[in-house]
Amino acid sequence: MSISCDETRALFALYGAEALDSARRREVREHLTVCQSCRAEGEASDEGLLFAFAGGEEVTPHEVERVLAGVRAGLDWKRVERRVAPARRIRGRRGFLAAAAALVALTLAIPELSPRPEPSAPMPMKTVRLEPESPASPVLTQGQPAVLSPSSGQTDGTAPASATIYDWNPGSGQPRVVWIVDRSLDI
C-alpha cells in the first residue's frame, strides 16, 4: 500500500474536484481496491468514487461469442450487399440501354422521323440454332449407395492425429462431400 488511510481520505475532496495529478489519483484508487473501510468512506463522500468500482457485470465468454456471431453475420451481409450493388448498377445501365434501344426502334418505326433506306438487295439472314441446355447439376441415380469412409490421423503433416475424415462418394464420379471432424479445433 503506497499511501496511508489518512492520506487517502484527505485526498477525497481533491479527487472529486479533478485536482489530483494522474499519479496521485492512481494511488488513491489503488488504495481503495485493497482497503474496504477507506472505500466505504470514499463511496459515501464522492459520487465519482461511489461508481468507480461498480463491477458485478462481467462480460461472459458466451456474450463475446454472441457479439462475434453478430459481427460475422454483419460482415457476410455487407459482402452480399457489395456483390448485389454492382449488379443493381448494371441493371440500371441495362435499363438505360433498353430505353435508348426502344427510342432508336421507335425512331426507325416512324417513317417521318427516319430516312427510308434505298431499296437494295435483301440482306442475308443469319440463323442461330439454340442447343438444348444441359442440366445445371448432375442427377443422382436412385438406389446407388453413398460411400462413407472414415479415416483418422492424416500422416501427411497437414492435420493432427485427432482429425477424423468422413468422405462421401470418394471416386464415384458423383458429387463428393468431405467432413473433417476435429474436436481439438477452436473454431
Binding site: 479533478e18 461508481f51 457485470e57 459481427v71 454483419g74 463428393r176
Partner: protein
Amino acid sequence: MSDEKPPTDDDSSPYKKLMELVYSEERRRNETRELSDGELAVAARQGDRVAFEALVVRKTPAVVAVARRIVGDREDARDVAQMVFLRVWEQLGRYDETFSFNTWLYRISTNLAIDFLRSARSRERAHGATLHLVRQREESIGTETTRATEDGQISRLFDSVSGRLSGKQKAAFVLREMQDLDTSEIARILRCGESTVRNHLFNARKILRREIERLHPGLLRRRDP
C-alpha cells in the same frame, strides 16, 4: 458396383486442400494471440479476417462495458458492440497505427452508444406516458434502499440516476471513473478539449449528486458549503 472405387492419390488432394484451409486458420488464430491490438488492426486492414476476429474477441468486454454504462441496458450494449465492430471493419483504412487503437475504438464506441442513447430517448419521448409510470415505480423501489453497497446494486443505481446526463456527460464520466482514463485521452476520444471534458465531468458529478440525494437520501454525505 463399378462406381465404388477406392480413393486414389488424386482423390485425397481435396483432403489436403481442406486440411490446409482449416489448419492454416487455426495456426493463424494462435499467432494472433501474440500480436498487439495495433498489429491486429493493421493485419485486419489488409483483409486478415482471423486477425479481425481476434480483435473482436479481445475487445468485446471493454466495448460492452462502456456501451452498457452509456445505454443502460446489457442487451442494447451487445447490439452497440456489434455495430462498433462492423464500423471498425469498415473504417480500418482510416486507422492511424501511430495512435492508440484503444482511443480509436473508444471513440467509435462512445459515438455509437451516444447515437443509440439519443434514438432511445426519442423513442422514449414517443412512449412517454408508459415510461413515466415505469420510472415512478423504479423510483419508489429505489427509495426503499437506503444503502447500495453491493457492486450489482451500485451498477443499477448508476442506471437509475444517470438518466438525466447528456450523452457526452455520461460518456466522459464513464470513461473517467469507470474506465479510469486520463482526461487527455478522453478529450481525444470525444474529440474536444480537455477543459470541455472537465466541464462535462463537473456537470455530470453535479447532476449525479442531485439525483442520488433525491432518490437515495443519505447515501452520500453532504458536502460542506
